[in-house]
Amino acid sequence: MESKLKLSLAMLLLLGWAACKKVETPKEESEHEAITSVRLIFSASGLTNDTVWFRDPDGDGGNAPTQLDTIFLNANTSYQVKTSIWNETKTPAEDMSIKIIEEADAHELFYLPANVNLSVSKTDKDSKGFPLGLESTWNVGNVGASGTLNFKLMHKPGLKTSNDSPSLGHADIDMNFPVLIQN
C-alpha cells in the first residue's frame, strides 16, 4: 500500500513537472488561422493601381491596419477582377482563398458599391452552381464623387442558395474600400 502510494505520488509530481515545462513556453499569440489581408487584381491596363490591398497583418485588435488602398477605376470600362484572401500572420503568407474554394458551398463574397457608378457581377460558381465571387466582372459607369465598396465574405454552412442577401450568415470579412472613378 505504502509503496504504491509513493509511486503514484512520484507519478503525479512527474506529470506536474511536464505540465510546467509546457506552460513556460507558450505559443505565439498571433492568430494562426486568421484572415488578415485582401487583394484585388484588375485585368485592364492603364490603371493607377492594378493591385489593391487591405492589410492588417497582426489580426484583430493590436495595431491598426497597415494598408488600405483606394480603388481607382476608369470611367465606362469593364474589368475582370480576381480576389484573394491572405493570412499574413504566417511567413510566408498563407493563401486562404484555397480554403474558401474547398468550402465554396459555405461561402460567398459580396461587392456592394455605394455612391459610385459601378456594378459588380460574380462569374465563378460553387459545386452546386451558386455564386462564389473570387472572380468577378466590374462594369464602371460615369465619373462621380468618391464612394466606397463594401467587401464581405459571408460564411453560411447549410444555408447558401442562389440569391442570398449579403447579410445572411456570419461575416468573416466586412470592410470598406474607398473608390474613385476617373476619366
Binding site: M1, L5, S8, L9, L12, L15, G16, A19, C20, K22, V23, E24, T25, P26, K27, E28, E29, S30, E31, H32, E33, A34, I35, T36, S37, V38, F54, D56, G59, D60, G61, P65, M96, K99, I100, E103, H155, K156, P157, G158, L159, S167, L168, G169, H170, A171, D172, I173, D174, M175
Partner: protein
C-alpha cells in the same frame, strides 16, 4: 465487525402498543424514536418516509419523529441516516403507533458517523437541498438545470444547453463548487462554461446560501454548491441501479447504470462503478427548431473504499466528457449582423429542423478527477485527514467562422491539491485545523489567443469551530490564503512572464437557535475575497461564444464581499403550515464587472461590440421566502418567492445580468390509486418570472429585457421499493417566452413543450 445478513436486512424493532382504537377517518399518528445500535444514542436527522406517499419527515435532536393524518392500511416504512444502510419495514397500520427503532451503523462506523456528523454537515448555514424524490425528478438534466427550481438559485444560460448556476445573483468563480469532497477546478472564466459534474454521481446536492464552507476556498462570495455521493455499501450488500429517461423536446435520452458492492470475505472493501450517457438533439421552441443545439455527454466514475477499524482510505476517479452545440443563430459576427439579428422576430441564421448532429460552433470539454483520501479515527476525539487531488480540465471551442479543422481555443487546466486537516472533538465542540497547498497550471493551444498560460500556487490555512447543542448550533471559521500567479506570454517570439501575489483573510460565522418546537431562527455572516481571475486580468480578443471583443485589466484588485443574512422558520397549525424566510445583504468592494465601451472595435470582420473589465462597489440585497402547507395525507401546497436588488453603488445604477423576481407555486396530491395502480402521486407546478425592470441606465443593453412569463409543469409518479417511474411535461402550455438571464435572448425564444418519462430500478442484495 461484519454483521450477519439478517441484522443487515433487518433490524430489531420494538413495538410499543400505542393508543389503538378503531378509526374511520385518516387521523392515525405514527411516532417513534430512532437510536444507534452500538451507542444507544438517539439519532437526529434520520429521514423517515412512507414509500409511495407524501409522508416524510426527519427526526429531531431527540431522535423523535411524528407523522400525522395517516389512514388505515399497509405501508412501507423507510428509514435513512447518513452512513447507514436504509432500513425498510412493512407496517400494517390499524391504529396510531409508536415505534422504537434501532439503526445499525456500518462496519465499525460509529466513529466515522461522529466525523461525518460534525465534519461535513452545515447545520448552521442557510441551505437548499436536493435529494431523494426531488433529485429523481431532475435526473437526466444537467447540474445547473437540476438546481433551477431551488429558491434563490437561478442559472446564467447560454442558449438552452449551457447552464451556469447562480446563487443569490452571483455565479462562476464567486461560487465554490465541491464535487464529492474536492473543489471543482475548471475553466471558470467564461459565462458559457457549465460546471463539469455528472449529477448522476450525486445522491444529494446542497446549496449553501449563508455562511460559506471555508474548508474548500475563500472565494465563495455567492455561496457554495456541494454534490455528495451516497454512502458506500457495507456488510456484503450489493446493488445494481439502472436509470432511463426520455423527453420529447430535443429527443433527449439519458441513461445511468451503477453497480456497488461490499465484500463479505474482506469486510474492509467496498466499491462502486457508474457510467452515464446523455444525448440531446436540437431544441424546439414553440415556433421553430434551433439549429445546432444538440449535446452529448459520456461520464464514468469509480470509487473504492478500504475501511479498517482505525483508519480508512478512499480512492475516487471520474471522467466527464461533453460536446455541446452552440445555437447557429447566435453567431452573428459584427455589429451590423447583430442589429439585423436582434430586430428579427425569428432567428435569421437557422435551419428549422431536428437533428442530433453537432457542428460548429461547439464546445468539447473533458474533466478528469482523481482523489485519494486517508482518514485516521482510532480515537474519535482526534481525527486526521489527508487528501490528494488531481484534476485535469481540457476545453476546446470551435468557432463557426474559421476554416481550419482545429479548435480555435484549446485550454488545458491541471490542478494538484494536497490538503490535510485535523478534527478535535471535545464535548459539543468540534475544532478543525487544516492546511492546503495547490498548484495549478493552464496551457493554451489552438488557433486563437484568449488567455495566457499561467502557473499558480495557492497555500491556505484554515480553522473551523462548531458547537452543536440540542437546540442551537454555532459555526465559526477563519481562513488565510496566499496566491502566487505567474503568467507567460509570447509576443512574436519574445517570451515574457509576469507575477502577482495576493494575501487575504476570510471569515465566516453562523448561528441558529430553536426557540420553541415551532420556531427556529439564525444569523449568518461571511467575509470572502476573490482574486481577479486570469481572464479578468489578461484576456484580449474576440470571444466568439458571445461575439464580443473583451479586454482585461492587469491592474485589478481583489474583490471583497461581506454577506450577512437572517433566517426564520416558523411552523403553525400543528406543524401543517411552515414558513421560511431568508433576508440577506451583501456589500462587495471592487466588484469586477465586464462593462461595454462606448465605441466598437474594428476588425477585418467588421465592427464588434467592445467590453472591458472594470471595478465598482456593489450592494446586493434580497429575500428568499417559502410557505408550505400540508393538509392531511393527500394534499401539499408550496409557494416560493425570491427577489434580488443588485446595485452598482459607485454609479448609482443597477447591475446588469441579475435575476428578476420569481414566484413558484406547487400543488401535490398523493397518494391515490387508479385501478390496480396504487400509490400514485401527481404534481402541478407554476412559476412566474417577472420582467427585469432593474436594468442599468449607464450601459445600454442591445435589447429591452424580455416580458414576464409563466410556465406550467406537471408530473405523475409511481414508486415502490425497487421502481420509480415518472411521466412529466415541462412548459405544458407551450408558452413562447424569453429569459433575461439567457445570453441568447437577443436571438431566440426558449424551449417549448416537452413530454417525457423517467424510470429507475434498483436491485438490492444483502
Amino acid at each position: 465487525m461484519p454483521k450477519s445478513i439478517s441484522t443487515w436486512a433487518f433490524i430489531l424493532i420494538l413495538f410499543f402498543p400505542g393508543f389503538i382504537k378503531a378509526q374511520e377517518k385518516c387521523e392515525l399518528v405514527l411516532t417513534g424514536v430512532i437510536r444507534d445500535s452500538d451507542s444507544k444514542e438517539l439519532l437526529s436527522d434520520a429521514r423517515i418516509e412512507l414509500a409511495g406517499t407524501a409522508f416524510e419527515t426527519h427526526t429531531n435532536e431527540q431522535g423523535y419523529f411524528e407523522l400525522k393524518g395517516l389512514c388505515k392500511g399497509n405501508y412501507t416504512l423507510i428509514v435513512g441516516h447518513a452512513s447507514c444502510a436504509p432500513l425498510v419495514k412493512k407496517l400494517k397500520l390499524e391504529g396510531s403507533l409508536n415505534l422504537n427503532l434501532v439503526l445499525p451503523h456500518r462496519t465499525n462506523s460509529f466513529r466515522e458517523v461522529v466525523v461525518q456528523e460534525k465534519g461535513i454537515r452545515f447545520r448552521a448555514s442557510v441551505s437548499e437541498e436536493l435529494s431523494g424524490t426531488a433529485l429523481f425528478e431532475k435526473r437526466g438534466l444537467s447540474l445547473g438545470e437540476s438546481l433551477e427550481n431551488l429558491n434563490g438559485v437561478r442559472n446564467l444560460q447560454t442558449g438552452a444547453s449551457v447552464f451556469k448556476p447562480m446563487i443569490n445573483g452571483l455565479y462562476g468563480n464567486r461560487i465554490v463548487v465541491v464535487n464529492n469532497g474536492s473543489r471543482l477546478e475548471s475553466q471558470q472564466w467564461g459565462a458559457e462554461h457549465a460546471p463539469e459534474i455528472d449529477p448522476f454521481t450525486a445522491g444529494k446536492i446542497t446549496v449553501l446560501k449563508g455562511a460559506s464552507a471555508l474548508r474548500y476556498g475563500s472565494d465563495g462570495l455567492g455561496g457554495t454548491l456541494l454534490t455528495e455521493a451516497l454512502p458506500m455499501p457495507n456488510g456484503g450488500k450489493r446493488s445494481l441501479g439502472v436509470f432511463q429517461g426520455y423527453q420529447s423536446n430535443r429527443h433527449l435520452l439519458s441513461s445511468n447504470v451503477f453497480w456497488e458492492a461490499s465484500s463479505k470475505s474482506i469486510p474492509a472493501l467496498s466499491y462502486r462503478i457508474q457510467a452515464s450517457t446523455r444525448d440531446a438533439g436540437n431544441v424546439k421552441t414553440p415556433g421553430y427548431y434551433q439549429w445546432n443545439t444538440g449535446s452529448k455527454e459520456r461520464n464514468a466514475s469509480l470509487q473504492i473504499s478500504w475501511r479498517k477499524p482505525e483508519w480508512s482510505l478512499e480512492y475516487q476517479a471520474s471522467l466527464f466528457s461533453s460536446t455541446l452545440g452552440i445555437f447557429y443563430g447566435s453567431q452573428v459576427g459584427n455589429l451590423s449582423d447583430l442589429r439585423h439579428a436582434i430586430q428579427a422576430s425569428e432567428p435569421l441564421l437557422n435551419i428549422n429542423r431536428f437533428s442530433y448532429a453537432i457542428d460548429r460552433p461547439r464546445q468539447e470539454v473533458q474533466h478528469y478527477t482523481q482523489s485519494l483520501h486517508w482518514m485516521r479515527y482510532k480515537d474519535p476525539a482526534h481525527v486526521f485527514h489527508m487528501r490528494l487531488n488531481f484534476q485535469n480540465n481540457r476545453r476546446k471551442e470551435f468557432d463557426l467562422s474559421k476554416i481550419s479543422d482545429l479548435p480555435e481555443l484549446d485550454l488545458t487546466l491541471t490542478t494538484y491539491l494536497l490538503e490535510s486537516w485535523y478534527e478535535h472533538n471535545h464535548d459539543e465542540w468540534t475544532y478543525t485545523y487544516g492546511a492546503s497547498s495547490q498548484l495549478q497550471t493552464n496551457a493554451w493551444d489552438g488557433n486563437r489567443f484568449f488567455i495566457p498560460n499561467y502557473r499558480q500556487w495557492q497555500n491556505a490555512l484554515f480553522f473551523i469551530s462548531k458547537k452543536h447543542l440540542s437546540n442551537s448550533d454555532l459555526e465559526m471559521g477563519l481562513r488565510f490564503d496566499s496566491r502566487y500567479l505567474t503568467s507567460f506570454r509570447n509576443n512574436q517570439g519574445r517570451i515574457s512572464s509576469e507575477s502577482k501575489t495576493w494575501n487575504n483573510l476570510s471569515a465566516s460565522a453562523a448561528w441558529t437557535k430553536q426557540t420553541s418546537s415551532n420556531f427556529r431562527w439564525g444569523l449568518s455572516g461571511n467575509l470572502a475575497w476573490r482574486a481577479p481571475s486570469i481572464n479578468e486580468l489578461y484576456t484580449n480578443g474576440l470571444h466568439h461564444g458571445t461575439s464580443t471583443f473583451e479586454v482585461g485589466n492587469p491592474n485589478l484588485k481583489s474583490e471583497q464581499g461581506i454577506k450577512s443574512g437572517i433566517n426564520f422558520i416558523q411552523t403553525a397549525l400543528k406543524q401543517s403550515l411552515q414558513a421560511e424566510l431568508f433576508v440577506y445583504g451583501q456589500y462587495i468592494r471592487n466588484f469586477i464587472n465586464l462593462v461595454s465601451d462606448s465605441s466598437p472595435v474594428l476588425t477585418i470582420r467588421g465592427a464588434y461590440p467592445s467590453f472591458h473589465y472594470d471595478q465598482t462597489d456593489a450592494f446586493l440585497s434580497g429575500i428568499d421566502a417559502k410557505l408550505a402547507w400540508q393538509s392531511n395525507s393527500f394534499l401539499r401546497f408550496q409557494l416560493m418567492y425570491s427577489s434580488l436588488f443588485a446595485r452598482d453603488i459607485s454609479r448609482k445604477d443597477w447591475l446588469q445580468q441579475m435575476p428578476s423576481d420569481r414566484w413558484q407555486a406547487e400543488i401535490q396530491a398523493k397518494p391515490f390509486g387508479i385501478g390496480k395502480l396504487k400509490e400514485l402521486e401527481i404534481k402541478l407546478g407554476y412559476s412566474l418570472v417577472s420582467k427585469q425592470n432593474r436594468v442599468s441606465s449607464y450601459f445600454i443593453d442591445y435589447k429591452e429585457s424580455p416580458a414576464s412569463y409563466g410556465l406550467m409543469n406537471v408530473s405523475l409518479g409511481w414508486k415502490n421499493q425497487d421502481w420509480n417511474v415518472q411521466l412529466f411535461s415541462t412548459n405544458l402550455l407551450n408558452t413562447r417566452y424569453r429569459e433575461y438571464l439567457n445570453r441568447f435572448r437577443y436571438f431566440t425564444d426558449e424551449p417549448g413543450i416537452s413530454i417525457g418519462i423517467r424510470t429507475s430500478y434498483i436491485w438490492n442484495q444483502n
